[in-house]
Symmetry: none
Subunit: 415 residues, 2 copies
């Protein structure tokens, strides 16, 4: 079929979508969250260089290697955009607010039009100024009791519903449901202590109306919490309105499954139409690989195994623990060799250099093992060796197209 | 703040703009104009390879290195687009005509809607054919007298003003000011001798009207100059209408300063809202580094030091003089080490290989020194060593995002 117009604006996802086949090989993604790093000033070796990773390095020798710049030059990805890129969703075109991610993280079943915000229980002084944005990190049990009190105590004068759910410690999530809500609201969280909570402002007609509801909600919550010592107020941020994503099976004809122990990654995967199978013992990396082993088979085409510990140790600024987390992953790599998927991808969703103690913009090493991979001379899986690989340095969203192609899932483009 | 629609078309500058912080580290750009080159056929070494650059090479060993393709593949940048890319303005979206650059170069205060053209005094024979497009390169003093004569002698039948200013030698600039002018006009400069000047043609309604004004201007100028021996006509090219740019402090929250001895770079910097501090002794490279040293401090976040000589020697096709210019810069590099900016960038705005004697499309080596740079194995600052660097080969406009990130000036993207 010829194109209707000589010039049509298409992005690469649209082209892939037009080329995907129903049939093809199986794809396994091993995603070490935040795995990219920076050299330790004492040893001049990054976490991946410092880790003893015989298996990852052997895999690198049999793979096409490269680097992924997940969102764009200098742009530090949050977990949402990083994963959207890996799954082939342009992270600049498709973004997802913090509130929605939090709701997904507690497995809240979002409906189109729902407006969600991330909530912190916080401490304010008698003048109303925030003195602790995390209410002394109250425990999750206390959080549950406070959420119950708020759910039972608040009534909103609107045609709709609200949901107020515990996440963990000082974290909760608010979801508003009803006709004509808008998600373009400013945060009430002033972001630093010494300031009162901000008034929520709506940036369009629906959001102005929603801001009024939020204002009433916050006032009532404050009354309910006023007697509490630590958690006597709430701060809201990351408002967003929910619109469903085109699922992975529709976009790329992939039946996907997520093996992740963190709710947020589970939630994001569900949002993209994947099934979620939490590892039985969420405390160990081995459990995730066990679950991959038992899940692997006829039911799915696309397996997303997520490892959180490489990121959380990096966020803690604990270089040695991040090295250990990488080594812990390394020992289970041979198991995937036994499964022998048509395409095996190992990478991260962004860098989290322990020396920075935070996510960063630095590109992430990636390797693709497949019968059709152009295996290069790279001998180790790290940021510097992979820079010399045959995949080059490329945007993160390229990965899905490469994985599909190596799995024999993309037809020829044009005659 | 959440996005209004699930799908929104954004380019990377827009994302950066949404992420920039007010605070952050200081950024220094050392721009060696046209520094990229090609190997000399006798030695097979490029200008940067032939130059003895102990300091630049030491810096390369402590930097993340790469190559910048300034505008696009195969595209030879003029000075305007090359610099716009370095400053993070997409040189394809934002272009700036030669006429406007010339006006900026003489510090002419352009107003929105002004239409400017670059002017050459030229020599025509008795039949009107151009015999010398540069009027024997008349001296600047003669140029000034001719400009006075034209300013005093010409009257245009329009609701507006014109300005006619000396640049240097045979070069001048014409600016038309008034309501309803258009900048889409064809050149009158035939570009080669033996042809008469072309009739200026307008490409839309406003430009057709403007073409009529230009025609009258050129006719009157020719009458005024007709008795002159060398400069008896004028040729116009590079028409463009002025639209203000969003300044650097608005786009990226950077208070910028330009240290350049050439008017055009000063003008372009002013256009982007930078302050301009010309080096006291414009003849030496040392003066520019002196001025950087005395300027560096609390007043600015972004320092742009421009060195012209690497380009002009390349344009002259003088390989050895370009090598010397590079070596002259090299000796002052340690001074910047003493200032210890958070981010130090060394690169060029395009290549000017001496063997070509002109600007070229070849990518330009770049290095970024910063606490957070992913320092690679590159041991020399040249076109071939930098091709192996951790920054990879990337569009020139990526540089500003990387500089901002390394300076801690970009927040995380998404949750």
């Amino acid at each position: 079929m010829a194109s209707k117009k000589r010039v049509n604006k298409m992005d690469v996802e649209t082209v892939w979508r037009g080329l995907v086949r129903e049939e093809g090989g199986k794809i396994v993604y091993i995603i070490m969250d935040g795995v990219g790093g920076l050299p330790h000033p004492k040893t001049n070796r990054s976490e991946l260089q410092a880790a003893k990773t015989l298996n990852l390095d052997r895999l690198a020798r049999n793979s096409a290697c490269g680097l992924l710049e997940m969102v764009g030059p200098g742009i530090t990805p949050g977990s949402g955009p990083g994963h959207l890129a890996l799954f082939g969703y342009d992270p600049i075109k498709y973004n997802i607010g913090r509130g929605l991610l939090s709701a997904l993280g507690v497995d809240f079943k979002l409906k189109p039009g729902d407006v969600a915000a991330r909530v912190n229980f916080a401490t304010a002084d008698e003048t109303g100024k925030v003195v602790d944005r995390r209410a002394g990190r109250i425990d999750t049990e206390t959080n549950r009791r406070l959420c119950d009190a708020i759910r039972n105590g608040i009534s909103l004068d609107v045609d709709g519903d609200f949901f107020f759910e515990t996440v963990s410690e000082h974290r909760a999530v608010l979801v508003l449901r009803g006709p004509g809500l808008g998600g373009e609201l400013s945060d009430t969280d002033p972001q630093k202590p010494g300031m009162p909570p901000s008034d929520p402002l709506g940036l369009n007609e629906d959001s102005v109306k929603t801001a009024g509801i939020v204002r009433s909600f916050v006032d009532q919550a404050r009354d309910i919490l006023s007697k509490k010592e630590k958690a006597n107020t709430i701060l809201l941020r990351g408002f967003d309105s929910f619109k469903p994503f085109m699922p992975l099976h529709e976009l790329f004809k992939l039946k996907g499954v997520c093996i992740a122990d963190y709710p947020m990654y589970q939630g994001l995967s569900r949002l993209l139409g994947m099934e979620v199978i939490p590892p039985e013992n969420k405390e160990t990396i081995e459990a995730s690989f066990d679950t991959l082993g038992t899940t692997y088979g006829e039911d799915y085409d696309f397996y997303f195994l997520h490892i959180k510990k490489t990121d959380s140790t990096g966020e803690d600024g604990d270089f040695d623990e991040k090295v250990k987390a990488i080594e812990a992953v390394d020992q289970f790599i041979p198991r995937i060799g036994n499964l022998n998927p048509d395409v095996l991808v190992v990478t991260g969703d962004h860098s989290t250099p322990a020396v920075m103690g935070s996510h960063s913009w630095h590109p992430v090493p990636v390797m693709i093992r497949s019968k059709w991979a152009r295996v290069d001379e790279v001998e180790a899986f790290d940021e510097f060796a992979c820079a010399q690989g045959s995949l080059g340095l490329r945007p993160g969203k390229h990965l899905m197209g490469l994985a599909l192609a190596h799995a024999g899932r993309l037809k020829k483009y044009g005659a």
